[in-house]
């Protein structure tokens, strides 16, 4: 496709009043020799759009540059099909709405933004999708409990084939071990039958679902649209090909033998919730020591959970479970005394009704810290500090004590069958001040053939890492979705919702993969990283750093990209010291040219320049919001959007400093345990890379504070002026960059 550029400068929305449009046009026509340049007072209007369309049709314009509003608006109006490259120069939100009108510096800013875009076009080509042959559209669901069964049914209902793998000899998971379950239906007041039979029947009767019981996974190779899974059943193995995977292996109760301080082990009458469930399923609930039907029962909540010594988190389901079990006791004998010692009752969602019901039935809820459980020859006593009464208290002559012992995800346990080999190797690779790889606990569930390790990376407490705020089911392995209590602690009603969400994500992923598009957050993006492998030094940076484990390695240690696993964040591109990774429409030289196109005035002009790399996911929207709210900020800054701070290549900092910029500000998403980075690890990795730059700058006698990284989310838009201005002031104090003019 011949590259013919058309620049369309809009003077609507006050742009024309604030800027000298003719001078701006000269940047395009004179400086950049752009063949087509048009001006219009209302490009987003019908006639304005026609002008552009006409140029495309009759004038063979293939690269359209619209200088006007933000690319985040009017994207539907300015849509010229896939064969046209479209770039938007944001003169409105980024210049005229944040700067003084009719001012020399404002005009310089606008002209620079046009230059940045025109420079970008030099290295930009239309991407072509990476489409795999015979994209597999089946979904494998791992785990046949409530969440897994729900996902299977939902995927099948959407018209896709399902392979459901369960390691036990029958489906059901916790439902099999439950007498009844907390209500899933309105009015949410009474325990319900598990409905296990009907659920299993629905699955068995669905020809789209293939069930494997007594089966585990020996190996999962491949990538979205083409996973090859080796199943282990009995002595043998068999193969299944699928396009996406849902992990729904659930959680197990916290080990009660660690709860000796709450009386576990001291008396057979102190039991866990699971054990109490078994007793209830047998018929009359009788205490284990002598078979006496229970008349007085104490429940201890948060037994292990929300306890720094045990599980620091809330297990989320045990309050509701205890409410259910308390109702069993009341159902058996309405005169029975039931005490629930709690920290907080967390009966979220509709379960408030369930809690209220238990209260109305006379279950007594006591907000207390339990200090001890003692056995006086059959009867038990719970001693506690009643926090509402502000007094030590006790409940004695209890027949049984039930410990709400919380849950631990199945992914949290390292299978001893594993050696430590892989881990050591990872540690070696990480030695060179590189980021610490995410913990991958070898739980022997998926056994992924991924360079970074065999299971999903976890974040905390052994739960698979997933973007909690924005895309909760998206784990750090594209095409693999975690659902139910393996993802985070949750009750059954939440697990059902979760399983449905994951089913949707799996189907989306398959369809996107089939078209060669990315999944969240760059949904539909067809660009993908290209590796110029002949120049690769096998440094492993890309294979280590890709947050999604997209890159494997061949025997010789060369990176083996898997484009369908890729989320298009560009972290590999930022990591590669040889700069051999690039996208058709996003590359190291491209960004380099963009920043070099900015005019940096001489020192004596006293016009400092500060370069801002801003993440497209949150920082750019926040900057737009600042503009929409007409918040004014420093006229010395020039902003270049990046896909993710993870794509930041250090050479850009180098380029910026040698070009004479006085400072560089990086705006990205929050990182750490409660990260908001849309690519999960991108901003964290950028931070680590940056720490290396500081040394270099210091060595050159440049203040390392000239390069600074800050966290911005959309809601921070009102802080934008403060962030920018404070940085600019700080840079001002250092004085001009001594490399200016070289």
């Amino acid at each position: 496709m011949a590259k013919k550029i058309g620049v369309y400068i809009c003077s609507g929305c006050g742009i024309g009043d604030a800027l000298d449009i003719d001078a701006l046009a000269k940047v395009a026509t004179k400086e950049y020799k752009v063949p087509v340049c048009q001006k219009n007072a209302f490009f987003c209007g019908k006639e304005g759009v026609e002008v552009i369309k006409k140029d495309i049709a009759e004038n063979e314009v293939t690269y359209v540059v619209i200088a006007g509003c933000s690319g985040r608006v009017n994207y539907d109006v300015f849509n010229f099909g896939p064969s046209v490259v479209l770039e938007r120069v944001n003169l409105r939100e980024r210049v005229v709405w944040t700067q003084e009108p009719d001012d020399e510096d404002t005009q310089m800013m606008a002209e620079d933004y046009l230059r940045i875009t025109l420079a970008k076009l030099k290295n930009l080509e239309l991407p072509e999708a990476y489409v795999i042959e015979n994209c597999n559209k089946r979904v494998m669901v791992v785990g046949g409990g409530l969440a897994g069964m729900t996902s299977a049914v939902e995927v099948a209902k959407a018209g896709y084939e399902v392979v459901l793998v369960e390691k036990e000899d029958s489906l059901g998971g916790w439902l099999k071990r439950s007498y009844k379950i907390a209500p899933l239906n309105s009015p949410y007041t009474d325990p319900e039958d598990t409905g296990l039979e009907a659920r299993v029947k629905e699955i068995e009767g669905n020809s789209n679902i293939k069930v494997y019981t007594s089966t585990t996974i020996e190996k999962t190779a491949g990538a979205p649209g083409m996973f090859d899974v080796t199943l282990k059943q009995g002595g043998g193995t068999l193969e299944e090909k699928v396009g996406a995977i849902i992990l729904a292996t659930g959680a197990v109760p916290y080990e009660p033998s660690k709860l000796g301080h709450l009386g576990y082990g001291a008396s057979p009458n102190v039991v866990t919730q699971a054990q109490f469930e078994e007793l209830a399923a047998k018929g009359t609930i009788a205490r284990p020591s002598d078979g006496k039907a229970v008349q007085k029962v104490g429940f201890i909540q948060c037994a292990g959970s929300r306890d720094q010594e045990h599980l620091p988190y809330c297990s989320a389901a045990c309050c509701v479970e205890s409410i259910k079990q308390a109702l069993y006791v009341k159902g058996q004998n309405s005169e029975a005394a039931v005490y629930v010692f709690y920290k907080d009752i967390r009966s979220s969602g509709q379960y408030e009704h369930f809690y209220k019901k238990a209260q109305s039935e006379g279950v007594m809820f006591i907000k207390a810290d339990v200090t001890g459980v003692t056995d006086d020859g059959g009867n038990l006593t719970i001693e506690a500090n009643d926090l509402l009464m502000g007094s030590p208290t006790m409940a004695d002559e209890l027949d049984m004590v039930v410990l709400a012992n919380g849950m631990v995800p199945t992914t949290a346990f390292e299978d001893p069958a594993y050696g430590t080999e892989a881990q050591e190797e990872a540690a070696c690779a990480a030695a060179d001040a590189a980021p610490v790889p995410a913990p991958i606990i070898k739980s022997n569930i998926l056994n992924l053939e991924y360079r970074q390790g065999p299971e999903l990376p976890s974040l905390k407490y052994g739960f698979p890492d997933s973007h909690f705020i924005c895309f909760p089911y998206e784990t750090r392995r594209t095409g693999i979705y975690a659902a139910g209590s393996v993802r985070r602690p949750m009750d059954m009603s939440q697990a059902v919702g979760d399983a449905t969400g994951a089913a949707l994500k799996a189907v989306q992923c398959i369809e996107m993969t089939d078209k060669g598009g990315a999944v969240h957050p760059r949904s539909g993006d067809i660009s993908f990283p290209d590796f110029q492998l002949n120049r690769c030094t096998q440094c492993k940076r890309c294979t280590e750093e890709c947050p999604f484990g997209a890159i494997n390695e061949d025997e010789k240690g060369n990176p083996l990209p898997n484009p369908t696993r890729c989320r298009r964040c560009g972290t590999c591109m930022g990591a590669c010291p040889e700069r051999i990774i690039s996208f058709k429409n996003y590359s190291v030289p491209m960004l380099g040219n963009m920043l070099k196109s900015i005019e940096v005035p001489e020192e004596d002009e006293e016009k400092p320049r500060v370069l801002i790399f801003a993440c497209e996911n949150d920082a750019i929207p926040a900057l737009d919001m600042a503009g929409i709210n007409r918040l004014q900020y420093s006229k010395w800054v020039r902003i270049i959007p990046v896909r993710c701070l993870g794509s930041l290549n250090l050479v850009w900092i180098n380029d910026a400093m040698s070009k004479g910029f006085d400072g560089v500000l990086l705006m990205g998403c929050k990182h750490g345990d409660d990260y908001q980075c849309h690519f999960m690890k991108g901003s964290e990795l950028a931070g680590i890379r940056l720490s290396k730059v500081s040394e270099t700058l210091d060595r050159l006698g440049l203040e390392s504070e000239r390069v600074y990284m800050t966290e911005v989310n959309v809601m921070d838009y009102d802080r934008i002026p403060k962030i920018i201005n404070e940085f600019v002031e700080k840079i001002d104090k250092f004085g001009p960059n001594p490399m200016k003019g070289f």
């Binding site: 809690y355 209220k356 001693e383 009464m389 502000g390 007094s391 030590p392 409940a395 004695d396």
Partner: protein, 200 residues
């Protein structure tokens, strides 16, 4: 720990007393209270109460019989309904307060000024079918005994005179309701019905 000092030694839960309270007309609602404290911050007369409604319900649930009879909470309730419209658990707090007053009176806890006032007021209604300010006052002061009456009472007298002057304090009671016998019978029958319900 700041406590209620309800007992020395560990507190024990007296479910029997709690059950008795739950059996009052609106008593079962107390069980639904989740101790959120909304009533406490909404209450018009919270600062006059020794225990807020929330704390009162806690005392009742845990069976603090003594503490309940000592408390002034229900007597301080001014029936403003704020708590009732705000309680997230739908506890009709005012109605519970009615029950607690009745219960305290029925157990002979009548020495509070409010209890005397309530009883005098009721006697007025009972004997006339209507309420008459003058009659109410007379009964009230009779019940309280003059020596108990504080300085304010004299001011109340002044107030009475002012009202008289403005034609707002009739000296003669209104005519009794003609159907007074019916009024009384209705009350008796209703009480008996309640009793029967409770016995059942």
């Amino acid at each position: 720990m700041t406590g209620f000092n309800v007992s020395s030694g560990p507190l024990k839960y007296d479910t029997e007393f709690a059950r008795e309270i739950y059996s009052l007309e609106n008593g079962h609602h107390i069980k639904k209270c989740m101790q959120c404290g909304m009533c406490e911050v909404s209450c018009a007369t919270r600062k006059e109460m020794d225990y807020s409604p929330r704390k009162m319900f806690l005392l009742l649930r845990t069976g603090q019989r003594e503490e309940f009879f000592k408390s002034n909470t229900m007597w301080m309730c001014s029936t403003c309904l704020m708590c009732k419209v705000r309680c997230p658990r739908g506890v009709p707090i005012v109605d519970v307060m009615h029950d607690l007053k009745c219960y305290a009176i029925s157990k002979g806890y009548t020495e509070r000024a409010q209890a005397a006032f309530y009883q005098s007021f009721w006697k007025e209604i009972w004997s006339r079918g209507k309420q008459f300010e003058g009659g109410l006052m007379a009964r009230y002061y009779l019940k309280r005994g003059w020596k108990d009456i504080r300085k304010d009472a004299f001011r109340m007298k002044d107030m009475g005179l002012t009202m008289l002057k403005h034609g707002r304090m009739p000296l003669m009671p209104p005519k009794s309701v003609k159907g007074l016998k019916d009024v009384q019978k209705l009350v008796e029958v209703a009480k008996a019905q309640l009793q029967k319900g409770a016995d059942r």
